[in-house]
Symmetry: C2
Subunit: 375 residues, 2 copies
């Protein structure tokens, strides 16, 4: 049972935001005066809306899962400290546990070129899924993938290249998405920058704030298999059972984690996976024991503008439909929350779209019906 | 006025931890069983102590300050998306605002090779300064420096080097501290790994968890002046007045931010700055208008084991004493919270030492006496 009825909490939050709007407008005027006198003030903080009700947490904090201790040379460590050991491949996790509610823990993993920030305050200042799921009674754990954000990465090869010890061609590329094609077109805000789709749900006026979430992606530099898979499986064990939520690049990470050890993984929430993956019959038998909900937005047939992946989302949706069919053929429980159910216009960044909390409500209802809580 | 008496809250938290210890021991037994059956479970989460009282927040979230939009080539973006614009030099900030209390906002900036994680849950699972200051009625803002963690960095030169467009020798070194010299000896846990100082305050049994906080440092790659300086000054303006707390590498960042624009900077908390900096008389006149507390731990005369900085902390303390004298000579208000006042054994990582909340209480008392709250 949830502690608070879904619709009423969402409505309270939204009403509070409407009330806050007039206050924010006054604040904006004041800030404009400050800006004029100082030259440059960023736009983000004043646009963040304060919820109507306080957030009451039993606890919150951060920790790491996994990590390998390795010995590195003076050069590999950056030519400052002597040869010594460091830790690499650890996964940073932040979390909040609500004071009330007995929901199952949810782990939210971000996608390519992004960090755990994905699930926090949206680019236009609304509440993200991280806090919303906590307010709905779920402990929520938000990692940075190994190689990204506060998890760090193994810098050895970069320093060896700079020192002439390793040829530059061996240095892994660091990928970015960039604003107009990699984000705008590929994430389906519109057919081409700056055109938007009719009824587009992403807050496109705040694209500059989304651009700030984009950071270099080291996935071509992390070991194989990606240490994040085992870290997610270990995290689920540590919290004594969790639903794993993946997005885009990490859309199939929940399945990869379950193939390391499925024991503590109680559900899959798969938000626009880049690909749901292909599995052997033995692997499908393992995965079919875990309920799965796949969520896709609108305009998946549109071209991405990325040469190597021209119809990424059309192909991704097809791969996920095939995955759902395989799971269900093995007597599993997999389903698709489709664009038609959500109404038109959801982008690839569903957790930041204007109806993000409505979509969250659908996912929370699915959890209630399909995934047993811890106690 | 503070909402809760300092000593009593700290005592309540500490008592709660003692009570939690027996529960934790039971938990540890259960986890050991799980670990035996799965092969490898990280040690961190089960060691985190749950506070006795819930944390009640008016709001929390994250946003970015600053950022420059730049055009980059196909190669610079990682050879995946076409030439396009991205944002670099933005500063990620997470924050919590307590539901009660009218304390002045505090911005906590981390040091070299670390991230905002510095001020959160300690390596041995105790509460960090981030949450403690919030529980004592202060809104707290925790950035990642530009070039670190969720702030990201400009990857263009790395991809240009990999592609053979820029010579490898031009690629900036990425520095790490490493466990035995850069951390153990240099951060003054003991004279040489694994010896500890008598009465050492750092929880050395948890050094593996501190090692996981250490990530590659891009400070040799960020522009000059470091964009974090202006971002901190802008952040103080956005929150309408803040105390800036720096540590180690960022120990002089609060002064650098004030030299960009001192208007909204209401105090300096300088935790073991690597150097307090040298300033012109005109600059000292600006800085002397802002109250400053410098905090140093013990064993500052010990050698660091780092060749280029053999007596870093002895020299750092000397530079900060000179800074304090200059500020006071200019009719300012600067003082030193010294090792003798704290009792022996504090390390360079004071915010994670076993008496971290006692030290926080001293700093909070200083804020009460020396810095006017917002309202």
């Amino acid at each position: 049972m949830r502690p608070i009825a879904s619709g009423s909490l969402r409505m309270a939050i939204e009403l509070s935001w409407r009330t806050a709007r007039s206050v924010a407008l006054l604040g904006a005027t004041l800030m404009a005066t400050v800006a004029a006198s100082t030259g440059a003030v960023a736009q983000a903080l004043k646009d963040i809306r304060t919820p109507d009700t306080p957030l009451v947490l039993e606890s919150r904090g951060s920790f790491f899962v996994g990590g390998d201790v390795v010995q590195q040379s003076f050069v590999e460590l950056g030519s400052k400290v002597p040869a010594d050991q460091i830790t690499v491949n650890q996964m940073y996790v932040e979390y909040m546990i609500p004071a009330t509610g007995k929901g199952i823990p949810v782990v939210m993993i971000h996608g390519s070129t992004l960090s755990g920030k994905t699930y926090d305050t949206t680019p236009d200042g609304r509440m993200g899924w991280y806090e919303y799921f906590v307010r709905r009674g779920h402990p929520v754990y938000v990692p940075d993938q190994v190689g990204r954000g506060r998890s760090g990465f193994n810098q050895a090869i970069f320093n060896n290249v700079a020192q002439g010890i390793v040829p530059p061609a061996q240095q892994p590329r660091l990928t970015r998405l960039a604003d107009r094609v990699g984000v705008w077109k590929n994430m389906r805000f519109g057919p081409n920058y700056p055109e938007t789709y009719p009824n587009e749900r992403f807050p496109v006026e705040a694209i500059a704030e989304l651009s700030k979430q984009d950071i270099p992606d080291f996935n071509l530099a992390v070991p194989t298999p990606n240490p994040t898979f085992k870290a997610l499986s270990d995290l689920a064990i540590q919290v004594k059972g969790a639903v794993l939520l993946g997005h885009s690049q990490s859309g199939a990470f929940p399945m990869q984690a379950a193939l390391v050890n499925p024991a503590a993984i109680k559900g899959f929430l798969l938000i626009e996976p880049g690909n749901c993956g292909t599995y052997t019959p033995e692997q499908i038998a393992i995965l079919a024991r875990i309920p799965a909900l796949v969520v896709f937005g609108d305009h998946t047939d549109a071209p991405t503008g990325i040469e190597s992946l021209p119809f990424l989302w059309r192909d991704a949706l097809a791969s996920c439909k095939a995955f759902i069919a395989q799971i269900n053929a093995a007597h599993g429980n997999a389903s698709l929350l489709s664009p038609a159910e959500l109404g038109p216009g959801n982008s690839h960044m569903i957790m930041q779209d204007k109806n993000n909390l409505e979509v969250a409500d659908r996912m929370l209802d699915w959890l209630d019906r399909n995934v047993k809580a811890k106690k």
